[in-house]
Amino acid sequence: MTRKRNYMNPYYAGILLGLVLLAAMFFSGRGLGASGGIKYTVVAAVGAIDKQHALESPYYSKYFENGESPLKNWLALEVLGMLLGGFISGAISGRLKFTVEKSPKISRGKRLLFAFLGGVFFVYGAQLARGCIAVRRSPEWPLCQPPALLPCFPSSARPTCLPGFSADCGFDGSKFIVKRKYNSAY
């Protein structure tokens, strides 16, 4: 087994993370994320167990449009990569171990219960807020750029599209429908 290594200096780790984030923006035009990955897993599970309910629900149905699998997306693949990346890091640092990390003041059972409840609250809140810190910090948190991603956004009473995008987008009063087509000739 590899000798145990210390954690990386936090500033160096921050630089590494910043470069990973930059790579995501440069290559895929988006920031990093994780809570969305959990959402997609649940959506896929619901679809597998009760397809009818998934197709009828205003929440789930949008992930099954055009017969697409909810797992076939950037975020789901990214989360898979995270598991592998974390494992590699743990392996080279001698930190691989099945364990329950907790304060000595509480029992294992209590720790696991609070971990579970914490997960329920956190991801519920993250779905409401549309992203946990990894996403909200990037790109819109640090990034200060001129009008960004959504090619269509409501202004006054009608949607407008940035030049180069087809007018296949709008706000129907309750949600965005963005079927953008980028005109590469632009």
């Binding site: 990214e78 990346g85 609070f114 914490g118 997960g119 956190f122 810190i133």
Partner: protein, 199 residues
């Protein structure tokens, strides 16, 4: 010129593969930073470990400065990079709920995945709870939709809200980060708990 997947005709599988590789980097960086330890993460709230602040602020200023530089040299079209839409009520309420979840569970999804990858069973329970939370949200969506979709402000950016140029904002953020790093180092000295942070 980037973003590559938006502006060039690459096959979808290439973009998905890029996501996978970027995810490997993300997971690696998080675990190396120590985010696979819930006690280290919780230290941010109690002052004995400010790794979270140092790592995320450093990452933010690296990505911010980097994207501005890439944009300046025409290598990245910043107009094409995704910005989360801002819904005031949903963000505030969701944020409070997330905070409660974090201090209860000691993780957030990204760090939970990082911890799970090295064998932490409490992280597994956290993520299972997370799936339950996501399911709860999905099923309760018709009831919370009004809150979730209310007070829409569009993809708001901080520099626009502050009324400063991107360059000035970058400078302000770097200065803020330096100030916070200094405070963080002081806090760690004051509230030190080497049995948790000294790993």
């Amino acid at each position: 010129m980037g973003p590559i997947s938006v502006l060039t005709e690459i096959p979808e599988w290439v973009n998905l593969l890029a996501g996978f590789i970027i995810g490997i980097g993300f997971g690696f960086a998080l675990e190396q930073a120590g985010f696979s330890s819930s006690r280290k993460l919780a230290g941010m709230f109690y002052g004995y470990d400010t790794t979270v602040l140092k790592v995320f602020f450093t990452a933010a200023i690296v990505a911010l400065a980097g994207s501005q530089i890439l944009g300046f040299f025409g290598l990245l079209n910043l107009n094409m990079v995704y910005v989360n839409p801002y819904y005031v009520g949903a963000t505030l309420v969701g944020g409070v709920i997330m905070g409660a979840g974090f201090i209860m569970g000691g993780f957030c999804p990204g760090t939970g995945i990082s911890a799970l990858s090295i064998g932490k069973i409490d992280a597994l329970f956290f993520l299972l709870g997370g799936m339950a939370g996501a399911f709860l949200f999905a099923e309760s969506y018709p009831f919370v939709m009004k809150l979730a979709m209310g007070s829409y402000r569009g993809p708001v950016k901080l520099n626009e809200w502050l009324g400063v140029s991107p360059g000035v904002f970058t400078l302000l953020l770097i200065l803020a980060a330096i100030g916070l790093f200094w405070l963080a180092e002081k806090a760690e000295k004051k509230f030190r708990r080497p049995e948790i942070t000294g790993e």
